[in-house]
Amino acid sequence: MYQNIFNVSIFFIVFRETLEASVVVSVLLAFIKQGVGKSADDPTVYKKLVRHIWIGAGLGFLICLVVGGAFIGTWYTLGTDIWGASEDLWEGILSIIAAIIISIMGLALLRLNKMKEKWRVKIAKALEQSNIRGKGWFRHFTRKYAMAILPFITVLREGVEAIVFVGGVSISSSAKAFPLPVVCGLAAGSVVGYILYKGGDFMKIQYFLIVATCFLYLVASGLFSKGVWSFQNHEWVKAVGSDVSEEGDGPGSYDIRKNLWHVNCCNGETSGGWMIFNAILGWENSATYGSVISYNLYWLTLMMTVGLMLFKERHGHYPFLKFWTKKRNAAPLAQEEQKSPENEIQQFGSSDESRETKEALVSVV
């Protein structure tokens, strides 16, 4: 079915990473436009810097594709034979891993503005440093192409993250299910980043992102539930032996003691439209107590997490931890301020290199 050519989890991972990368690029572009590097004065410098940004991003993207392709390729040729008789067990483990990965990164989609601002601060702080040190060919190079190196490193980092996550969630799906969601994710992420840059209707974007995230979490909860279901199915198949496959949908194909509902049709693993329900919502025609309880627990945990995060944003600390948080914050604020530029710089790679970058940027300025 459609699962053979479009893996929903891959789509969302690629979408999210592309979004973050395009946010970085758009922030850089915005800075350029605002006149960093005195580009407001000189159109040719502006054009050059813009080109740098795109070349850097593009190069990073290309390398990602190559690395990603190689990684996934070897993963598949090595990986597909291992599963065999414990198929359900593997599927269960991977489904749960996928669910966790998606869950963690999903909420970030809804804090785009926060993400954008974070990047602005980082880049701005990097630009403001004015230590000029060292000489040599490499320094000259980084100085000259600072605007290319930043996006290059960012895109590379986001890309590698994406590859690793995608590898994690997609072992059990076919190789055919790769290209389409990757392409779609790239396209969607770029489009949204562009809209952000252009300053399109914020509300519309936000609604879109909310809907996308809801969808994403439906998929994740389904995956989590299916993971638990797969574990229980694995136990059953091991206990009964090879006869389970004879029973198809009927009695004997599942453990009746652990069963919560069973209909002799609508099999989410094998029959047509129900497979979509299975992929998106985790629907099983033969649900166990485990799969249903885990589904509900997942949503409960999610709601609690959202609640906690909202609370922190509003009050600056987690519930009941007011005193502890204050104590932590009261301690060296100064040290924190000293530390943070260092920390932000770490994001850009080795501290040496980034200091060089800083110098380069400053010299451009």
């Binding site: 922030v27 605002q34 005195k38 601002e117 630009l127 399109g200 069973h262 909202l310 944003e313």
Partner: protein, 627 residues
């Protein structure tokens, strides 16, 4: 005076002798205990022995004899009973043997006497008829000699041959893995070997140019056997105690509990020994272990010095053999086709799982579940209600027959397996069976759907149909049989594969209950066994002796598995939907509060970090640029 007495005595005995019915009483005393045996040379195990020996003693009587078997259960840990398979027990229903049908199970330490007249001839066998019993070796041949048989003078010597499957484990230890949550397909346990006369490598010594009678009996628990003798054909002269017109055949399919008597005429040579080949019907086996010897070779021994070759099996699989179709045999008494039936019973074999996850066997929608009182005792204690089938319980699947009714049973098979069905107390005319035994026996499996009997469209019934007491039901097929209900009693009709009987593949005929009440009285030792076993012997199927129509408390079958959503399933589904909706609401709230950040970072209350960044030519308000 004494002389007169002696003369009278002599005259009387002579008259009796002339009358031919030297009806004597043959008594066997069976002390049933555990002994050890290793018949296949592979494994020594506990078996049920009689009088300390195993294989068990063959019961031999002459037609018309009174057979008395005094059984003592010395097993210590197991109940028991004896069913004399094929005996009509006309007027002696209480001697038939099946536990909870015509008697209580005989507990350890109790004695029980079977006493009945053998008014029939042929080849039979006896076996235990309580649960998980006879596959432990408690079975053996029962031969009724008849010097007036039509072929009595056609043979020089007779041999009895029993064929069997054999398990290395006690039946009661195998049974939990058969009726089990983890055996949802109801796969029957696979035997460890197959035996010939309860051993292997048997040689039957024969002389050349002589005719012998071989009595073949399948005493197995599960597996049918193909039987043939290399390079020999034979004539079938008896099936299940019914003499037939001698009919030539070369291969027989002998299902569990069936018997054939054949006349084999030996060759003119004495330089070879010929394999007698038995091939297990592998279609019945769910899996075939690699170390299971499916074919057995025994020999017609013409010469002790000649070699004993192994069978030369020409076929790749058992079902490629083409056996003789027993429905074509003609009984030698020429009994014509019975008239149109007074009662027609239409039942279908179905295998299905119930709520406990076990795979049960059904006739229609009932899987036989034993009552609390043996059904015969319910008949005898129920007075006027004996003809009301309700008192026998729903799950014993009882059908009341009127005395001398012509009964027709149409048995359809909605299962893909073959089933040898046996009727106690009678033999029956076999009228139709589709698909017939032969190369097309399994052809209905190709269609994927069972083919049930259509009374308006069937093969013509034979005018002198074959008769027997155990008949094979084809996969996805059917058979039609008829008999006359001339034998008052409670008679079990069931599949003789012991596993299927345990799974409930059977039903009861309550035949002429009123006549039964008039004619039958139960010996005290039978009731004594009931008392010792703690089983009530009065009352309905729920052991209610006050109100026979009140069946509260009867043994019921497990519930059927509901076809769709149950209440708890719907609740679970609704709850899950609510969780998801609430979760998504939470996400939406979270998403919308991002608005605050939007205004926070770009509005007038934007934090200091933005302003503290020294950026040349940077406009404080950047939102118009960045959205």
């Amino acid at each position: 005076m004494a002389l007169l007495a002696r003369v009278t005595c002599l005259v009387l005995t002579t008259l009796l002798a002339i009358a031919g019915c030297q009806a004597k009483t043959v008594t066997y005393d069976f002390n049933v205990t555990w002994v050890a045996a290793n018949p296949d040379g592979l494994y020594e195990r506990k078996v049920v022995g009689i009088n300390g020996q195993w294989p068990l003693p063959v019961i031999e009587v002459d037609k018309g004899d009174q057979l008395v078997v005094n059984m003592y259960n010395g097993l210590g840990d197991k109940t028991s009973s004896i069913h004399f398979h094929g005996m009509f027990q006309n007027g002696t229903n209480d001697m038939d043997g099946p536990s909870m049908v015509t008697q209580c199970p005989i507990p350890p330490g109790s004695s029980f006497t079977y006493n009945f007249t053998v008014n029939q001839n042929g080849t039979y066998w006896y076996h235990c008829h309580t649960e998980n019993c006879y596959p432990d070796g408690y079975r053996q041949a029962l031969i009724v000699h008849d010097k007036d048989a039509p072929f009595a003078n056609d043979y020089e010597e007779e041999f009895t041959v029993t064929m069997s499957d054999w398990y290395h484990t006690l039946t009661e230890d195998i049974a939990p893995s058969y009726m089990s949550l983890y055996n949802p397909t109801g796969a029957e346990p696979i035997p460890n070997s197959f035996l010939f006369n309860d051993t292997l490598n048997v040689s039957i010594p024969v002389k050349p140019n002589t005719t012998y009678l071989l009595r073949l009996i399948n005493i197995a628990a599960f597996v049918s056997q193909y039987f043939y003798i290399e390079d020999h054909t034979f004539k079938i002269v008896e099936i299940d105690g019914v003499y037939t017109e001698p009919t030539e055949a070369d291969t027989l399919y002998i299902a569990v509990a069936q018997r054939y008597s054949i006349l084999v005429t030996t060759k003119n040579t004495t330089d070879q020994n010929f394999p007698i080949v038995t091939v297990a019907d592998t279609v019945l086996l769910d899996t075939i272990p690699s170390d299971l010897k499916l074919n057995n070779t025994n020999w017609l021994e013409y010469s002790k010095s000649a070699p004993y070759p192994q069978a030369d099996i020409q076929v790749a699989q058992a079902q490629d053999l083409v056996p003789f179709d027993d429905i074509t045999l003609v009984p030698s008494d020429g009994m014509p086709l019975l008239p149109e039936p007074d009662i027609q019973i239409n039942v279908t074999v179905i295998m299905q799982n119930l709520m406990n996850g076990y795979n049960y066997a059904f006739l229609n929608n009932i899987t036989y579940t034993a009552p609390k009182v043996p059904t015969l005792y319910t008949v005898l204690s129920s007075g006027n209600l004996a003809t009301n089938s309700e008192i026998y319980g729903e799950f014993t699947h009882p059908v009341v027959l009127n005395h001398n009714d012509v009964v027709e049973i149409i048995l359809n098979n909605n299962d893909t397996g073959t089933h040898p069905f046996h009727l106690h107390g009678h033999n029956f005319q076999v009228l139709d069976r589709q698909p017939p035994v032969g190369p097309n026996f399994y052809s209905n499996l190709n269609g994927g759907n069972p083919v049930n009997y259509d009374s308006s469209n069937h093969t013509t019934f034979p005018s002198v149909p074959a008769r027997r007491d155990t008949f094979v039901l084809p996969p996805y097929g059917y058979f039609v049989i008829r008999f006359v209900a001339d034998n008052p009693g409670v008679w079990f009709f069931h599949c003789h594969i012991d596993w299927h009987l345990a799974a409930g593949l059977g039903m009861l005929f309550i035949e002429a209950p009123t006549q039964l009440q008039e004619r039958l009285s139960i010996p005290e030792d039978h009731y004594q066994a009931c008392r010792a076993a703690g089983v009530p012997y009065e009352g309905n199927a729920a052991a209610n002796a006050q109100d026979f129509l009140d069946l509260a408390g009867e043994n019921t079958q497990q519930a059927f598995i509901p076809a769709g959503f149950t209440a708890r399933g719907i609740v679970a589904l609704v709850f899950s939907c609510i969780s998801a909706v609430l979760g998504m609401a939470g996400i939406s709230v979270y998403g919308l509060t991002d608005l605050n950040f939007h205004t926070m970072y770009t509005g007038p209350d934007a934090p200091n970090t933005t302003e503290s960044v020294a950026m040349d030519n940077v406009q404080p308000k950047t939102e118009e640029n960045t959205g």
